[in-house]
Symmetry: C2
Subunit: 411 residues, 2 copies
Amino acid sequence: MSAAVLCIGTELTRGEIVNTNASWLSEELTDRGIEVGAIETIADDRPLIVETLHRLSAKHLVIVCTGGLGPTTDDITSECVAEALGVPLVRDEASLAAIRTRMEKFGRVMAESNKKQADFPTGARVLQNRKGTAPGFQVALGHAQAFFMPGVPREMKSMFGEQVAPALEPFVKGQMFQVRLKTFGMTESAVNDRLDGIEAEHAVTLAYRAHFPEIEVKVLARGDNCADRARTAADAVITRLGPDVVYGEGDVTFAQQLGKLLVERKLTLAVAESCTGGTVGRLLTERGGASEFFVGGVICYANRVKEGLLGVPAPLLAEHGAVSAPVARSMAQGALAELGSDLALALTGVAGPGGGTSDKPVGLVHFAVASLAGISDRQMVFPGSRTQVRDLAAFAGLSLVRKVLLHGHDA
Amino acid sequence: MSAAVLCIGTELTRGEIVNTNASWLSEELTDRGIEVGAIETIADDRPLIVETLHRLSAKHLVIVCTGGLGPTTDDITSECVAEALGVPLVRDEASLAAIRTRMEKFGRVMAESNKKQADFPTGARVLQNRKGTAPGFQVALGHAQAFFMPGVPREMKSMFGEQVAPALEPFVKGQMFQVRLKTFGMTESAVNDRLDGIEAEHAVTLAYRAHFPEIEVKVLARGDNCADRARTAADAVITRLGPDVVYGEGDVTFAQQLGKLLVERKLTLAVAESCTGGTVGRLLTERGGASEFFVGGVICYANRVKEGLLGVPAPLLAEHGAVSAPVARSMAQGALAELGSDLALALTGVAGPGGGTSDKPVGLVHFAVASLAGISDRQMVFPGSRTQVRDLAAFAGLSLVRKVLLHGHDA
């Protein structure tokens, strides 16, 4: 039993946008135990679309398609499906009324071109679009069930979750349950090696999703007691990787989990960022509710800001240089004092691409966490581009905060 | 004349990573005037790979393929190409020596599994990999020239630029020249409408690339005097969109262009960020050399940081609330004074998803730019998610700095 994902749009074959729909849909299908055999992306080209639909429907039982449902002349998916089926398009008056109502709600008049969005191949089941004007539809194409959805990710995701996923249930063999573990601090291949044998031992499937610099480990169990078995296997994964690597479960971010820990302990955090230039602050405030634990920070890019706002002594900067453990410690202590938080994280490093020396190479970052109870510092050399160095440094800095919260300062 | 992009890897069909290679390669090919007819992504499955190679080579003159060249057992691209060609694999001793040398350089010993990375289909032209161990190769497959490259984006991009692109030159008909214009402040459809007629008038092709919240406009001319014609058409685009929308050309960022303008005028910038939480600082320091114009900033998430570090008066906060024009102005003036810069940008808003009221809805952002010459402020309501509101606010704030630099403060 396999599925195909088909993405239609010349903007995709020209590389004008990155196709995030394909990976999102492939993950959703894989998570449901439906194997994705092929992902194809083709231009808005009628013979090509018709031929591709025939070819995919001969090989797969499910086809999930995005794109080409808009109002413009290059949106031809519905026509092509009708041609592939050998049936005419018919107008669905209920859909037409829904499109008109939606446009009026946003103060717009329905253009003639929008009317074709209510035309579907005869016999199609209409899939409503709660987030936009273009409805989708489902048809039987040969032996395959084919689902057609808009290309706009927000509209597609909503339609998939509400209307396509339930229709896929007959294709999913038996019960299944998945636990998603979020990790930071190990490479994918190291995680993979460390988890060797878990699949056989617990009769589960492990899968990974990379979202730099994090790795998500997905633990999937099928059949009887799948929820219990997935949980037991997930606990075994946590034991193998360690609780410092596995920071949370489900749809949580690293910063959010750290924030939760701070809120539980009624503690607040401030930052002093040099090389990361605001990256840590951005991460800490990515989700709502950050004001419960984050007071703010100082982006001390210039040395005189380190001196003026954080009170780093000029002689310390002169003696050790801005990228040094003493300066990182002084920055953290300054942020603690000036921002009045319970903890403060400071980062200073050489993000590159220029500015490296043999003593202080590109990628070197010093970071420190200060609290009223003491101070801890670390230095690391991160690989990769300027952006990668900055992102790794930000995560490593937040990791040190987590470590101090869980285990206290270095002896 | 069309090309196919083929991406091989079960991590892609399972949706474990987003396929950025496909869009990058499609854009590179399109920019060279080579039309991409299909993008296919398939699992590490031998019969499927062989069948797909046959099918694509019957329809396209160029096949550009990524993935499956690594050392592990699921890396089978070379074997599959050999099978499709009906030839054996042969070991290339020069490649084997290069792999060994590269691994020794990084202090690693070549494993037995790495040796197969030096095996190529008989008759293949080896493509060297300067960024990793896996070499690529080129073969003639039916009427098509097929190029096989590693899936790691950094290695693939380097190999494509240095070895694949030159080999594609015979496929590019005639001369061509492209000007890439970077824009911010208009939607893609608004840009599209505004540029109606340019293509016919100047005999050029316009293409777009969306990178939220920016739009890149690509002006492509072919044939005689293509460089001059592309330039003339690009100037017409700039005139139509206006110099406030078109901020630069080529591989530049909005923040980098603003930095250049500041450096030219020997001016420095500081920021005071509330709702954006460090986003503006991160953007300003994304490329190296930012220390020439950016001194730093204060992330004043909590009101007491607005008061303590920026000197925003408590009664002002009490009277108008943190999200207000008077507070944005006071934050900008405080940053100017405390950080000693020539200009300061302040942002305060409701990023959402919670916290909105009828007076101050989610998406409302007040921003202000202060200098010794005066102060300007704006308020906008941005649509979208929390992340989109923050990113749009950061760009709009930097836009106001640019406006003040180019046109002075509001009267």
